[in-house]
Symmetry: D2
Subunit: 276 residues, 4 copies
């Protein structure tokens, strides 16, 4: 595989480095324990995010995800609550203690998002946004870098290299499905990328089976598969009432489904000598 | 997902049917126990296939795979030992008791292959070969139907429908990777297809992580992921000396690697309430 | 580009060979004049094929296409009139003098199809069907080899190599669209493959914009584009009443639309120093 | 095709609108005359850009392209001359009168680029960069919006909708190749998108055969094909010494090749009732 990867990669390449561990408020990502990050696609209201935060914490999630700035295909779709959404996330953290993962869409909202988030997410549509990658390379906060849905693993590792080269080595990668001819699933979750990237790089690798499949019923089996393949963590969409979600309802779990999933994941984690 | 699947599918569709179990010489595929089918890409010599059969049996495989007729991209590549290869497979079965899975490439060699094989494999390049599907629909022997590497799940289920409609309901499906833009791996193993097909159809589903990834080091993690995702079995390439194989060496495991893999798989199988 | 093509290709490779010209009943394909092959997807009835043959001849087509054996995704779809269809094609040739291009799906119908057809078409789903390629390599009749919709140019040239190696050098290649993530069109017509193949091989290259796009309105502009890109001919679906066609109606032209297209093509052909 | 396009599209949708014409310093794009925009991938030096500007003007180009800010896969590749490059482009315009097309990568360099450019290019990697699209929607200058190499036509039209909705209706679309499994060419130029978009939208559509193919020898045939398919213009990479270019040399034409191409294009343009 190494011959299909840029020889110019310096900072992200595995070479003889041991696994990097990224720390978020005391939680280690990339160590033995698998990290589950859960929450709604978009922050929609105070009650929605608070209820979800409580439920996912109770079920075993270690961090809360939720979008305040949403990159939507149509300009007429819900674009997120913006700063109001960030405040609600902070309130959820206040109550539950769960660190916040939220997306940054542009350099000019970096300071705003930084003042609320514990992890800055670079979304799939921005993986090639090099000015944004350089911007987050300049901050001292962990970055969750999603793979572009049309990006090769090599391009993805190069995107991470932009961040590390700009000074920030707290980078977690996240596979979230690639675009293929198959339209049964929303994207094709490329789980092979997990062991491949673990071999080629020292950075932690997470998996988002919600966007990767687009179907609620596929999230539990693919979450287990991700852990079996060696993922260091999962990003899972959870909503109090998925059928009423403003975005991504069909791929969101409700609280019970999420609780069941976490139980099932524990067994798989142990089977591959990890814990949850 | 159902809306992306042909409403005309009758015999393969799940509807309210329970899981189909295909039986091969007393081995059940599609039941609780996960089946491991192992062996070389091509039968190359008597010693190669006999040694491999003994080794994979000892490690825990329940069936032997091996190609006697090989569909190769170039007419100048090794095309298989043909009947000589089938005889060697039969000899390996004689000695080890492992049933034989081997590929059928054309209707006019059906009788020949039938007289040696326990399971007829329809390869990825022949999934759209409807005369061949009709031909194997007329025999009383289990069929392993690989997904075309550019086939949608819907086309794959329709291919199975050809076999069942022609009278043979002993069909096992096998995901083996689809062609995408990513060239780090030989194909992109579409593991989401496993739970999707289990939902849409009652047929057993196997996974071939060797062709699906093309890299030896990715076979163990993706085998575990396949089981975690709900696969009923695995097809794994094993060779006494992978670096000397006439075909697919880079994706073949040696005996030790295969033995280690089977050990690891047991734990994952149990974690998803299956056995090995 | 040469470095992405198998170095083992011998007979189809361009090297210093001049353009090959394939002759069908006195019509040259691969010479200055661009050849238009037109007709329905499937032969459906005597009146349908005879009317179409007359109309496309009058409009300027030099050969008649029509399927008697149809590879259909679903076993419940119309599968073609088989020998009855071949007889109707022969009757249309009798009356109009247009040579017949029709698909062969399996080696065991080779003699039957040979006794009616002037050109044997290998369809996109059979490009990897090596026994079939070897079979048509043994006959003295021109072969129209469609590109597999998931085949690389290299695999396509290797498929042609199977035919030439088996003794038949009368091969025409036909680009007909590849499978990509874009679902606006049925396939993505890869016109770049035309000049690429003309550079890499001496064989004539045709284009099928009907299957390549799947939309009637895109057939005229893409036919012109194909000629401008250097194609030696076109395969165009024409039906007396496209809205009533048993297969591929949405991509078929009616007689008037086909007549207009041929007029427009003449000008483009001349602009690239060809004729029609 | 309309059923595969968002029904929410308002401003870019064709409906019963006539073709939009975008004007750049008196040059009309989207009218009868086909526009050729040529120049190097990157501005590298004063002599390089001045020589190229003179040569492409003499050969018949109506605008000059050249990148000052370059989105490169690797952070270690040449990233462009930035403001120095913009100044050199302005000097080339001063001398030749050719308007300047150059890429904008981030909102915070909008004022800088605006002060030099005549057309702002949004590159393929930024098609999903909605903050950037909103930013250029707020200026009174023509926008050249490249299709994301993994974007569906629907997503591309929605990206244009972001610009129009933000107040700027001077948008030109540019097809530049999509990512597919085929690796013979750098991307797969999706020329069918040209007539499809002309039907679905009133905006002008250009084609970039240089990035779309990645091979110099394919640029002339695919340029002709683009015009035959109905493109309103072309974006072509030209360099004084392609073999010494700092980026994209293999797909750049030298001056003589570009001159020959323009001559050939004139004939094709006339064959489809356009002019050059």
């Amino acid at each position: 595989m190494e011959k299909n990867i840029s020889s110019s990669l310096k900072l992200v390449a595995r070479r003889d480095r041991s696994d990097s561990v990224v720390e978020v408020n005391g939680i280690e990502i990339g160590a033995k324990k698998i990290v589950v990050i859960a929450g709604p696609c978009s922050v929609e209201s105070r009650s929605q995010i608070l209820e979800t935060a409580r439920a996912v914490k109770k079920a075993g999630a270690q961090m809360l995800r939720g979008g305040a700035f949403k990159p939507r295909t149509s300009p007429y779709s819900f674009q997120g609550l913006e700063e109001e959404g960030l405040k609600l996330l902070a309130e959820a953290r206040e109550e539950t203690g769960l660190p916040i993962v939220t997306e940054l869409m542009a350099p000019d909202s970096l300071d705003l998002v930084l003042s609320y988030a514990d992890v800055l997410q670079i979304g799939t549509r921005n993986m090639y946004n090099y000015p944004l990658l350089r911007a987050v390379g300049g901050v001292n906060k962990p970055i969750l870098l999603k793979r572009g849905f049309s990006a090769t693993v090599d391009e993805w590792l190069n995107a991470a290299e932009y961040v590390l080269k700009s000074g920030n080595s707290q980078v977690m990668l996240c596979e979230r499905g690639i675009r293929t001819f198959e339209n049964l699933t929303r994207f094709t979750l490329d789980l092979s990328a997990v062991p491949a990237v673990k071999k080629l790089s020292h950075l932690p690798v997470l998996v988002d089976p919600s966007h990767g499949t687009g179907h609620r019923s596929l999230v539990p089996p693919m979450s287990k598969a991700a852990v079996a393949a060696g993922a260091d963590g999962l990003l899972i969409e959870v909503h109090p009432q998925p059928e009423k979600a403003l975005s991504d309802g069909p791929q969101s779990l409700n609280f019970d489904e999420f609780g069941d999933l976490v139980q099932g994941l524990r067994l798989v984690a142990e089977a591959v000598h990890r814990s949850l």
